[in-house]
Symmetry: C2
Subunit: 346 residues, 2 copies
C-alpha cells in the first residue's frame, strides 16, 4: 500500500466545538488517515495516534465577509490548514467552519486544476434510495456553458471514483425535459453535452421533480439555481416533517400512532443522514476540499476526512482531467479569469 494520506482539518467553527472535531479526527486516524488538526490546542487535548495538533486558536468562521477575513487573517485556523495543503504538508482539506471561509481560503491558495475554468461546490444529497450529487451548489452564481460542461465531468468523476457509482448518469437541471428548455446558458450546455465525445453518460435535462426519483446520479446547475434547489429541499423537508410531527402530537390517538411508527422512521432517518456523505465537496482545484456541515458530530467529521483521503488515494483530480481531456472540454488557454465568486454561508 502507498504512503498514508494526510488531511489538514480546521477544527474551528463547528457547532459542537473543536473537541468534537478532534474526536472525529481520532476516528479517521484509527482508520489509517493521518490528520493535521488546526484549532485551539487547549480545547482539543491529545487526539491520539495519527493526529498532529497544531495550535491555531484564531477563528474566522463567523466573519460576515469571509473573503476579506481570509486575506486579513493569515493566522486563522482555516487559512493555516489550507496553507498546509498548498505547501504539500497535507494532501486535502477538511473545514467544518463556514463554507464561505473555506472556499475563499481554498480559492486564494489552491490553484485551479489544470484545464478547469471554475471550481464548484458539490453536495451528495441523501434522498432515500436515490442519492445524487448536486453541483454547483453555490460557488458560481453566474456561469457560461463551458463551466456547466466541466461541472458535468467533475461531478461524474467524483461519483465514479469516490462514491463507486458505475457510469454515473449526468443530467442538467432545467425547467423542462426538452433540450430547448431553460436559459440560453443551459440550452447551450445541453447541446455541448449531447454532442460530447468521451465517457460521459449524459441523460439530458431533468426538472426539479427529479429530486427523489433516482433519475440521475449527478445533477448539474449554475450555483444560483443549485443553491436554491438545495435549500428548497432542506426547507421543504423540515416544513413537512415539522407538520407531521405536529399532527402526531395533536391527539392521544395520533401520539400513540407516532410512537408505534417511530422505529420504522428511524431507518429512514439514517438513510437521509447528511453526515454519511461527509459534507460539501470543493471540486476543480488542484487539491480536494470537503466542508462538513457545521452541525455535524464526530462521525460526520470522520466521514469527511475519509472521503477526502479516498479522493486523494483514488486520484479524483487526475481522473477528472482525463475525462475532460477525452471530451475535449479542457480550458484552451490559461488566460487569467475572474475568480469564482465566494459563496454564501451554509
Amino acid at each position: 500500500m502507498a504512503e498514508p494520506v494526510t488531511v489538514a482539518v480546521d477544527a474551528n467553527g463547528a457547532d459542537k466545538g473543536p473537541a468534537e472535531v478532534a474526536r472525529g479526527a481520532a476516528l479517521a486516524a484509527a482508520g489509517g488517515t493521518r490528520v493535521l488538526l488546526f484549532g485551539p490546542a487547549d480545547a482539543m487535548g491529545d487526539a491520539g495516534d495519527g493526529v498532529e495538533v497544531v495550535d491555531a486558536p484564531v477563528s474566522i468562521a463567523k466573519e460576515p465577509d469571509p473573503a476579506r477575513a481570509v486575506r486579513r487573517t493569515p493566522d486563522a485556523s482555516v487559512v493555516r490548514a489550507v496553507e498546509a495543503v498548498a505547501e504539500g504538508r497535507a494532501d486535502a482539506l477538511v473545514s467544518g467552519g463556514s463554507t464561505g471561509a473555506a472556499l475563499a481560503a481554498a480559492l486564494f491558495r489552491f490553484k485551479r486544476a489544470p484545464g478547469v475554468h471554475r471550481p464548484a461546490l458539490a453536495i451528495v444529497v441523501p434522498v432515500p434510495k436515490a442519492p445524487f450529487l448536486l453541483l454547483d451548489a453555490g460557488a458560481n452564481v453566474e456561469v457560461r456553458p463551458e463551466h456547466l460542461v466541466q461541472f458535468a465531468h467533475m461531478g461524474a468523476a467524483f461519483m465514479e471514483v469516490v462514491m463507486g457509482v458505475d457510469r454515473p448518469r449526468v443530467a442538467l437541471l432545467s425547467n423542462g425535459d426538452e433540450p430547448n428548455k431553460g436559459p440560453e446558458v443551459v440550452v447551450a450546455a445541453h447541446e455541448a453535452l449531447r454532442s460530447q465525445p468521451g465517457e460521459l453518460n449524459f441523460v439530458g435535462n431533468v426538472e426539479g421533480f427529479a429530486i427523489g426519483t433516482g433519475a440521475a446520479d449527478v445533477i448539474v446547475a449554475d450555483g444560483f439555481a443549485g443553491n436554491v434547489a438545495l435549500k428548497v429541499m432542506e426547507g421543504t423537508s423540515s416544513a413537512l416533517l415539522g407538520a407531521i410531527r405536529g399532527a402526531a402530537m395533536s391527539s392521544a390517538r395520533a401520539k400513540l400512532g407516532g410512537l408505534l411508527l417511530r422505529p420504522a422512521l428511524r431507518g429512514l432517518r439514517d438513510e437521509i443522514d447528511p453526515e454519511e456523505a461527509g459534507g460539501a465537496v470543493l471540486l476543480g482545484l488542484r487539491r480536494l476540499g470537503i466542508v462538513p456541515h457545521g452541525s455535524f458530530g464526530a462521525r460526520g467529521f470522520a466521514r469527511a476526512i475519509e472521503v477526502a483521503a479516498r479522493g486523494v488515494r483514488l486520484d479524483v483530480a487526475g481522473r477528472t482531467h482525463d475525462r475532460l481531456a477525452a471530451a475535449g472540454a479542457l480550458r484552451r488557454t490559461e488566460v487569467s479569469e475572474t475568480a469564482a465568486s465566494v459563496p454564501e454561508e451554509k
Copy 2:
C-alpha cells in the same frame, strides 16, 4: 351589486376529463359567477344554470409545441376561450389543460397591462400555516431587474386584493440574505426594491430555506429559479411522503401506527391541498388567467373560476397599475419588446 362576472373556461386537457370541469363550472355558477364553457359538448352535457356550453371539441392540451399549436389551431378550445375574453364576451380565463397552451394563447391575444414589461406566472404554494405566492414560476426564464421589480408589485397586489393579505411582505429569492448576494440581476432588483417609494412592503432576500417558515407572503424570482424551486418542493414532498408511507408499511407495528396517525394527517393534507388556491395565476396582462393543475377535480376548477371572478371584481389589474405608478415602476415607453417566452408544461 355590479353585473355578474363571466369567466371563459377551457374544459379540454384536464386529467379527469371535460365532464369534471363542467361539474366545477356548475359549482362556481351556483356561487354567482357566469361561465362560458368551451369543450366537447357531447361529453359535458347540460351544466345547468349560469353555464353556457360552447361546443369546441378540438384540444391542443397535449401538443409538444404549444406556441405553434396555438397559432395553427384557431378552433382549439383554449384559443376560443381566450378569444371570448379578448373580445369582451368574458372577463377572465380559466384553462385546465396545459399551462403552456394557456400561456401561449393568452400572450398572443391578451395585451400586456398598461406599463407592464412582462406577464408572470404566479402560484400560491400551500405550505402548512405559511402559504405564499411564488412568481415567476416559469413564464420568463431570463429577466432584467425591472421585470423582477414589477413581479414584486404584481404579486403584492394579487395577495392583497384577491387573497386578502394585509400589507403582504415581499421577498426576493436569492442564495443569501445579504443585499449583495445573487446574480447581478437579483442584486440590482434588490437595490431597486429597497429604494422604492410607494406601498411595497419589501423584506429583503430570502433563501430556499424560507419555504415553510412564513418569512414572506410573496417570493419573487426569475422564471427559471422559480420553476426549479416550485418543482423541487413538489419532488421533495412526494419523495419524503413516499418514504414515510413505505416506512409505515414495513412492519405490523408500523402499519398500526400509520393507521392511528391517519386522521391527524388528513387535516394536514387538507391544509396543503393545492386545489384550494385554484391554480397558477397569469398576472400582468389586461385580462386575468388562472390555470388549475391538470389533476384538479371539480372543486379545484370551481375555486379557479371563483378566484378569477374575484380578481376581476376587485380589479386586481387596476390595483397593480396603481402600485406600479406610485412606485415609479411603470414601463417608460411603449416600445415593442421581445414577448415573454412560452413556459414548459406543468
